[in-house]
Amino acid sequence: MKVLVPVKRVIDANIKVRVKSDQSGVELNNVKMAMNPFCEIAVEQAIRLKESGSVDEIIVVTVGAAQSQETLRTALAMGADRAILIETEETPEPLSVAKSLKAVVDREGPGLVILGKQAIDGDNNQTGQMLAALLGWSIGTFISDLVVEESIVKVTREVDGGLEKLELLPPAVVTVDLRLNEPRYASLPNIMKAKKKPLDTLSPSDLDVDVTPRTEVVSVVEPPAREAGVRVGSAEELVEKLKNEAKVI
């Protein structure tokens, strides 16, 4: 079985983002970029499935600018077999990403697609669900456990009340949560080897996908700042302030 893993290049999770002064977005120039942490977990899970014998080939794909090749190379260095870049200068919305991914699924015929549950830039939490809708496939979102069997995919989902288990009819789409696994680092020899792995570039028009945005960003601003408060030195002082000053207990 083939597995497809869509990955996204985002600002590194450790960087504090800065809003541009013209309010058009956040500063991306000279900012450290990295693979979305949830996508790393998705790639790791695909590699584990290959190591356990339930998957033969791992294809990673991204929709984005030419620089997104770096992210694909990272996935190849971790252990993916080949990569596809769908190159576009537009900032793609989840719906157009999902449409592009559907076209790749139609070409490649994977039995499973593993995505991150959300990208830490847009925080949309949509792409996997939309892809499953367009394909008419089963979906397991926010998973913390995955068992792939011959004719069934078993998932455990992290939901607001605790955990939920589902059985999915393959082919399936799953989106991964943080506790599914701990992604590996790519070793130096594997980083070298990854440079020789195949990476194809396509355009949205090759796939016959319209990526015209449906939403327009009017402005991006800083959130209202919280002011640091006062220090307290004892439990009595804290309780007194919470009661009489803040009036919250």
């Binding site: 504090k16 983002v17 979102t141 605790g162 009017v218 991006v220």
Partner: protein, 312 residues
């Protein structure tokens, strides 16, 4: 403006998240229908009919909807959406699971997790873990929206809506519910509690969380945690507060042994009053705390318990 709110419920009761979502709907207009899609869900539908501002409850009672499986529920929402200008759902794991699938089925780009409404097509939403606020305009004819519940008050329950029974659900056969492990607690739910006390890696063990639970019991508070505490196995996943866990905004949030990483702040910095208890005076949590106490938590928590006890 005609608005459909997708009610989150467990067939018996409406979840509080629905009440906040109805308030968001009221900012858009007053033709509000509330969908209760479930199995044996009459009690939830009756509860829904009492929500102030709702004109009509649409009840779809079908065995295929018992477990809110996206494959069965989303096509129903997609089918109903054509009658409305806006469809709203709480941005809980329930809403996040079903709404994008419904939106894609009708070729709409969903607007996720809105915290403000500027006009009928323009919405404010946090991006980058709340480090930036984006105002976005939707060009789609039908707006499919998930709502950040902490940004809107709860609707009251003084209404008298009609309940209309409709059909249209279908079993997809694509997925099956196979069990759940829900965390049972006598304490208030995290997302609706007035007071929350959360522990981080500094707690050192799950057993030590009992110290926080004793305080929680005195204050009628919920107990939360950082990702580090959940990853370490001190507490279950549904305790996690943050960018990728729950977003909370109680009157009082007490962070104990939590450093204040941006991903954690994303989930709690809209709390009214924040208390930080941490032994490292440089910890970033102090930058957002109204009251900061630089102290070893293992000294502080028993003292806090005693101080609360005395005052009653």
């Amino acid at each position: 403006m005609s608005i459909l709110v997708i009610g989150e419920h467990d067939n018996d009761e409406l979840k509080p998240s629905t009440l906040n979502t109805v308030t968001a709907a009221q900012e858009l207009g007053d033709e509000i229908d509330l969908l209760i899609a479930g199995a044996d869900c009459s009690a939830a539908a009756e509860h829904a009919a009492r929500v102030t501002g709702v004109k009509r409850v649409l009840k779809v009672d079908d065995p295929s909807l018992a477990d809110s499986l996206a494959e069965n529920l989303s096509p129903l929402i997609a089918k109903l959406a054509g009658e409305y200008t806006h469809v709203l759902v709480p941005a809980s794991t329930y809403g996040k699971n079903i709404m994008p699938r419904a939106a894609a089925l009708i070729d709409v780009q969903q607007i996720s997790d809105i915290s403000g409404i500027e006009s009928e097509d323009t919405f404010v939403r946090p991006i980058y873990a709340g480090n930036a606020m984006a105002t976005v305009r939707s060009k789609d004819a039908i707006k499919m929206i998930s709502v950040r519940t902490t940004a809107f008050e709860s609707a009251t329950e003084e209404g008298e809506a009609t309940i209309e029974e409709i059909t249209g659900a279908q079993e997809s056969g694509l997925s099956k519910f196979a069990g759940e492990e829900l965390t049972r607690s006598e304490r208030p739910e995290l997302t609706t509690a007035d007071i929350i006390i959360s522990g981080g890696r500094g707690m050192q063990s799950g057993d030590n969380f009992e110290m926080l639970e004793r305080i929680a019991d005195r204050l009628n508070a919920a107990v939360g945690a950082s990702r580090a505490a959940v990853d370490a196995g001190y507490v279950p996943n549904d305790y996690q507060v943050g960018q990728t866990g729950k977003v909370v905004a109680p009157n009082l949030y007490i962070a104990v042994g939590i450093s204040g990483a941006i991903q954690h702040l994303a989930g709690m910095k809209d709390s009214k009053v924040i208390v930080a208890i941490n032994k490292d005076e440089e910890a970033p949590i102090f930058q957002v705390a109204d009251y900061g106490w630089v102290v070893d938590l293992f000294e502080a928590i028993p003292q806090l318990e005693a101080a609360l006890g005395e005052g009653g």
